[in-house]
Symmetry: C2
DNA sequence: CGGCAGCTTGACTACGGTCAATGACCGTGG
DNA sequence: CCACGGTCATTGACCGTAGTCAAGCTGCCG
């Protein structure tokens, strides 16, 4: 951890997606930060059922948040991107209710759980941001519920691709018209409640229709508008969100 | 509004499901409360797309939180019970992203949105509770996602019935072995991503199997254990939750 | 070169959706 | 008091989307 990033230099803060901080907030943030943690691809960041030790902010890398039914089926709840806060739920509720698994090597900023309370006492505006994040997260989950409940396979996949694409673009991770896409089809199908086989078929169809290109761990959006229509997503812009 | 309930006498507070409050918290709460609002059965408590004016706590009655896709399909995101906080998302994010519709006549405690910030400044422990509520809510939504993604029709319905049953029992609303169930099969199907027809078939099957009785706006749980097994819900107890 | 993980394709099946009709139970008004 | 219309529950017949099983691919790493 010798080369831990100082919050002052945190590359995430300059991203337009995030709300700016005041000097004093930043100062508090630096004291709040306990260190960094690196999780290799495939490793678990948080494990379902364990005591939660920390909150994390993703500095780099991607992950999936998932939970296991007792039948062994896995449901991917959401995809995790740089800047995302991980472990708020477990941090507040004390015990992790879901697993977070790194898909690529992931670097995390760690904040000790005990100091969350301190944050509520001394930094009401940061505490407010924290609740804001939770509310935004809840809103996205609502969208996900609507997707699984109402959209058919093609719409679901289009929806997921559009969401991920927009998010990564907003994070400035687009390069030559494509964004990194480290997730496997298996992750997608577990997220959307489809079988891997059918996920693949639909993906092939979208590709043949010339709407997306998905190869070599990268996603290229060829017909953003058309795909958004299929996905039943309106073109409303991504909201700005606070960062911790 | 002449006969508005004083927080001191709020019947919800005595319910074992909720965490107790200190004197000063209660005092603040009383000042926070702006009044009451009564919404008739079928009326909208919050309307998707509108500016949110208030936060609400449900004093009595039940409702559904739902969102509309542009195809006109409705997804019920969650069921709302007495003691639930409604409008936190809209309150924080400024605009309602979903609709909340009263299923029975519903009495709400209203809190002005502007004073939320005041709460964060002056009542850190209540603010913490607020975030706690958001985290719990998020956790439930995660469960819902897992249900829509992984469970088949029978499991979904069993799951919904068990959840609702347990919740109402925890609220002390059980009488003669049954709890009120004002929701229509249509609400259930919109919540679970099934057609009304199929929802009905499964319901009939569960009834014929002697597991539940569902009639006259009341739900009777005949084989709680067995139904929980079908639903793939473990028998873990309901968590205590803060009330606002 | 072999082995493994992930992707792709085909053939068959079934769960759940759609369409349509009927029934039960209201509240309202003639 | 009963006819009417509305909403909600129920049932049957048929169909289609997506799941399952199974086999070949492809590309990567040791």
């Amino acid at each position: 951890m010798a080369e831990a990033t100082d919050c002052l230099d945190c590359p995430l803060r300059c991203r337009p997606l995030f709300v700016p901080m005041t000097e004093s907030e930043l100062a508090f943030q630096r004291r709040f930060k306990a260190g960094e943690r690196v999780v290799p691809a495939g490793g678990d960041i948080i494990l379902q059922g364990h005591q939660a030790a920390s909150l994390y902010t993703v500095l780099s890398g991607m992950a999936v948040r998932s939970m296991m039914l007792e039948t062994g089926q896995r449901q991917v709840i959401s995809f995790v991107f740089p800047g995302d806060l991980v472990g708020l739920q477990s941090g507040i509720m004390g015990q992790a209710r879901h697993t977070v698994t790194a898909v690529t090597e992931t670097v995390l900023c760690t904040f000790p759980r005990e100091r969350v309370w301190e944050l509520f006492r001394n930094q009401p505006s940061r505490a407010y941001d924290l609740t804001w994040i939770a509310a935004v997260e809840e809103h996205f989950l609502g969208e996900t519920v609507a997707t699984l409940g109402q959209r058919d396979a093609t719409q679901r996949i289009a929806w997921a691709l559009v969401r991920i694409w927009r998010r990564l673009v907003a994070l400035g991770m687009e390069q030559d018209g494509s964004v990194p896409f480290p997730f496997r089809q298996h992750d997608l199908s577990d997220a959307l409640g489809l079988s891997v086989v059918h996920t693949n078929r639909v993906l092939v169809a979208l590709r043949n229709a010339g709407l997306v290109r998905l190869a070599g761990r990268r996603l290229e959006m060829l017909e953003h508008v058309q795909l958004s229509q299929i996905a039943l997503v309106d073109m409303e812009k991504e909201d700005v969100r606070p960062i911790l």
